[in-house]
């Protein structure tokens, strides 16, 4: 079995590593405290080509596939989960455009999005639902040849930036869930202050209020009533992306724990000499290895089964549920290696713990991931997961 990355994947990893180490790491404090992720860093990310890693070259992307995408997010996540999350939430609308946009929409949204000309948004979640389209309360009312969208969307990333937002709404005519593309800051668009939260201080989410936002037929993404497919299709890759971000935090906290164990002296010897510390480090290392293997397998599935979105969703839901919980456990283990210093901001590992706390609760909870994956496995005659792979 060959775990070596190919030439393209290596080029992506190197670029992501350079972005993380050279550009993000020196500015972590600023990223954590600023009201928005610095525009100049976003520009570097775009110029390097990181926004286009999974998308075809004909649209300005790299066409490197999802293993490369996962590796890039993991590299950035090792240094800053907030920076990696920014890339992930930019991928969400881009994935939706890549999978479902028509030619005109592709030119209008996918191509400039890959070039970093805007920070797009993906708005499904509402105060009353995070995954179930039947519970949507945002409505699209048809008047003549226009639609007027009203409702509240919750925890929406990039909402404070101009650009397109993919909005899911129930059409009042027929109750079907449809995805629309709106321009943020159009008439009827407003937003709350950013949510104050324990995780991802450098990644900001808002409530978005839509009051009779006007769109036309040309702004329907995919087909009428295809909203659920678009949600599943897009978040199948979103689950993979967030799994990569949190696998990255595990790698980051592992590096910190090993370094600390070798440097921290107790009774004239480094604490690395103590069996309890060795045991913890081994557990962290095993968890990192497990997460990485899961991540790369699911990413390889995403590359291999392109077109079979439910197979990809089963695979990415399976690992998202697992890695989310594992990230919290692993990062706490790494914090504990640091003893009392672990909870101080100076040692950074506390940031990894705080950031991973959102892992089981973002892009679908860890619980619902297991329900999705379990449902696929048990309902399907073909078997979505084969233990003999």
């Amino acid at each position: 079995m060959d775990f070596k990355l190919n030439e393209v994947q290596l080029a992506v990893r190197d670029a992501a590593r350079t972005f993380a180490e050279k550009y993000v790491r020196p500015r972590i404090d600023e990223i954590e405290k600023a009201e928005e992720f610095p525009q100049d860093l976003f520009d570097v990310m775009a110029e390097m080509g990181l926004l286009g890693v999974p998308y075809p070259e004909e649209h300005g992307g790299i066409g490197a596939g999802y293993v490369a995408t996962a590796v890039a997010l993991e590299e950035i996540g090792k240094v800053s989960a907030s920076a990696a999350t920014l890339l992930t939430v930019c991928y969400l609308p881009l994935d939706a455009f890549h999978l479902f946009a028509n030619e005109t929409q592709t030119e209008k949204y996918l191509v400039p999005g890959i070039a970093g000309e805007y920070r797009g948004s993906f708005a499904f979640t509402e105060p009353g639902t995070g995954s179930d389209p039947k519970q949507l309360t945002t409505i699209a009312k048809k008047v003549g040849d226009k639609y007027y969208i009203s409702g509240t969307k919750r925890f929406i990333s990039n909402a404070a930036y101009p650009g397109p937002m993919v909005v899911f709404a129930k059409e009042t005519e027929n109750e079907q869930c449809t995805a629309f593309i709106i321009d943020k800051f159009c008439k009827g668009y407003s937003l709350s202050n950013a949510w104050d939260k324990v995780s991802l201080h450098g990644s900001h989410v808002y409530d978005v209020f839509l009051d009779e936002v006007e769109v036309g037929e040309e702004d329907v993404l995919g087909a009428h009533g295809q909203g659920f497919d678009i949600l599943i299709g897009t978040t199948a890759y979103g689950k993979l992306a967030f799994s990569a971000v949190f696998t990255g935090t595990m790698g980051g906290s592992y590096d910190m724990a090993v370094k600390y164990a070798k440097e921290k002296m107790h009774r004239d010897k480094p604490i690395a000499k103590f069996p309890t510390v060795q045991s913890r480090i081994a557990q962290i290392a095993a968890n990192v290895m497990a997460a990485k293997l899961c991540l790369y397998k699911a990413a390889a599935d995403a590359d291999e089964y392109a077109g079979d979105i439910r197979k990809i969703q089963c695979s990415t839901a399976l690992i998202k549920g697992y890695i989310s919980d594992l990230a919290v456990e692993t990062n706490v283990l790494a914090l504990n290696v640091h003893g009392a210093y672990g909870v101080t901001a100076e040692y950074q590992v506390e940031r990894m713990v705080r950031d991973s706390l959102v892992a089981p609760n973002i892009e679908g909870s860890a619980d619902i991931q297991r329900l999705i994956a379990g449902g696929y496995i048990l309902r399907s005659k073909e078997g979505y997961f084969d233990a003999n792979f």
Binding site: E7, A11, D14, A15, M48, G49, L50, V53, I62
Partner: protein, 266 residues
Amino acid sequence: MNVLVCVKQVPDTTEIKIDPVTNTLIREGVPSILNTFDTYALEAALRLKDSEKAKVTVISMGLPKAKDVLKEAISVGADEAYLVSDRSFGGADTLATSYTLTRTIQFLEERSGEKFDIIFCGKQAIDGDTAQVGPEIAEHMGYAQVTYATEVEVKNGKAIVRKDTDDGYCVLAARLPCVISVTKAPYELRFATIKGKLRANRAEIETLSNDVLKIDPEKIGLKGSPTKVKRSFTPELKKAGVVLSGDDPGAMGAKLMGMLRDAKIL
């Protein structure tokens, strides 16, 4: 417009250690990088690519692994690169190096039928620190030269160069073709994009040996190097001095005199 950049692969450290037996640099275990000043020379050339659509060619004299820094140059935008490598070039001092590079530049010009308008070098390499190769190339070529450059633009067939001085800076004009050695400048260097890295990975870098260049063997390598290194050594660190303090200057003076006599200095 056609410009060329001379670059060198150097050890990634400013604290070079010297083998006390062989008097040579210890390179083992030290990662190699593109010489810091050369990155600014490359940036100056790439800015001319942006503004003047200049074609940027990069050359490096060194071991086969120096192809890594040439690929790095391509990854940030250089158009083509050549490695100048031959066992007979080994042991060259700055004179032999600059002569070899000069003949390489002339070879490339003859082969392509196009002259280079500007030859860029870094101010100096961070391993040898001589700052001689750039100016020597200018002498070999018979070109004007400007050193300590931080900004270069081309106007009316002349290079307009901002040159750092001890007191500030001055702006000079040099007739083309010329040689410009570049120092650290206060601007961000460009980075490699993913596509740039892929282009670099796939780039063919031709190695120019002396079979191709046909340089007079008496003028290359050790034979062509009048510089003889008698001894290289790391200066011993001085011990911390003694500080005398007290309220009575007279008594302290007397104590100092006693210490100097004890040390047989007086």
